[in-house]
């Protein structure tokens, strides 16, 4: 095997934020980055998808049926988890769901065959997912204190807790409440990172196997290719599941704030 033809495996490179051109305002560190570009692309594709289905025909066409199934899915989720008050919170849950779903899917798109158009997964940055999680958590706090005042703290005392157990239960409930934004943000961000690293590493295996020029190298490339096709299908499923889980947990947390256990 010729060592010169070997490509170095560097799976973290795809998550690097790079500036596209100079500073936006002279002398400031604000740059238009590839992350910002792909957020705009995600926004554009969401607008395209939604506007195509908002004709309000009495008999929906295919496109409108697709959009209506997504909106109906989310409003149904808010209704079953929060109850009739859930309608007020449906816009945020829908925003979170559709943004995460589209940015996950755009990151999976195979535009990378053109080198300049390598997709950037917006949700693979902890800052982005953390902002989404913090907004969800803020809604929970604001709604909870707005509706119940200081009675909101009864969230940390489950019904029928025996008195002697209170010093144990209350800190546990408090910790499990405070850790919610972190777990929301971390789950989405790590799931995206892990999937992309896996696909990337096996992509390098294919390239290195073919470059080696040996029969075993070709065999490894073929196995890796079959494996990567399966992993990509799994990743598409994970993209949808992570968006669904984020929206579902957001609606459950809002339900806690609205109804207090």
């Amino acid at each position: 095997m010729s060592a010169a033809a070997e490509v170095k495996i560097d799976p973290m490179h795809q998550f690097q934020i790079e500036s596209l051109g100079g500073s936006v305002l002279d002398g400031t560190p604000f740059h238009f980055t590839n992350s910002a570009l792909w957020m705009l692309i995600v926004l554009g594709s969401i607008l395209f998808f939604m506007w195509g289905g908002m004709k309000r025909d009495l008999v929906p066409g295919r496109w409108q049926a697709a959009v209506e199934s997504v909106t109906g899915f989310i409003s149904g989720m808010a209704l079953t988890n929060i109850g009739p008050e859930g309608r007020k919170y449906t816009p945020w849950i829908f925003t979170v769901f559709i943004f995460i779903l589209f940015s996950n899917l755009m990151g999976m798109m195979p535009f990378g065959i053109v080198d300049a158009a390598h997709p950037f997964t917006v949700t693979s940055q902890f800052t982005v997912t953390a902002v989404l999680a913090v907004i969800s958590f803020s809604i929970v706090l604001i709604v909870g204190f707005w509706k119940h005042g200081f009675h909101f703290f009864s969230l940390f005392v489950p019904h029928g807790t025996p008195g002697p157990l209170l010093p144990l239960i209350v800190p546990i409930e408090l910790i499990s409440f405070m850790v919610r934004p972190f777990s929301l943000a971390l789950r989405l961000f790590v799931a995206m990172i892990a999937g992309h690293i896996l696909v990337d590493v096996f992509g390098y295996f294919i390239v290195n196997g073919i470059n080696s020029g040996t029969a075993m190298g070709y065999g490894i490339s073929l196995i890796s290719f079959i494996f990567i096709a399966g992993v990509n299908a799994l990743e598409l499923l994970v993209c949808a599941i992570q968006a669904y889980v984020f929206a579902l947990l957001t609606s459950l947390y809002i339900n806690d704030a609205v109804h207090l256990h």
Binding site: M77, S183, R187, A191, I241, L248
Partner: protein, 75 residues
């Protein structure tokens, strides 16, 4: 033992957690199927709870993965 070797061993040990979380996720879906096949009429209503359990089990594996990545690249 030098630091590089210790790092790689540590990352490998952290990866055990990912495998354990895999059994947890499998347990969630397996138990759901066991219940769902006994009472298919009630299965659809419990799908939300299924994914809550899935998310909770999966999170711990993802945290183990994050620890492995931090050991490998950030320490």
């Amino acid at each position: 033992m030098d630091l590089e070797a210790a790092k790689v061993i540590g990352a490998g040990l952290a990866a055990i957690g990912v495998g354990v979380a895999a059994t947890g996720v499998g347990n969630v879906f397996g138990s759901f199927l066991q219940g769902a096949l006994r009472n298919p009429a009630a299965a659809d209503g419990q799908q939300g709870r299924l994914f809550i359990g899935f998310a909770a089990a999966e999170l711990l594996g993802l945290i183990a993965f994050a620890v492995a990545m931090i050991i490998l690249y950030a320490v």
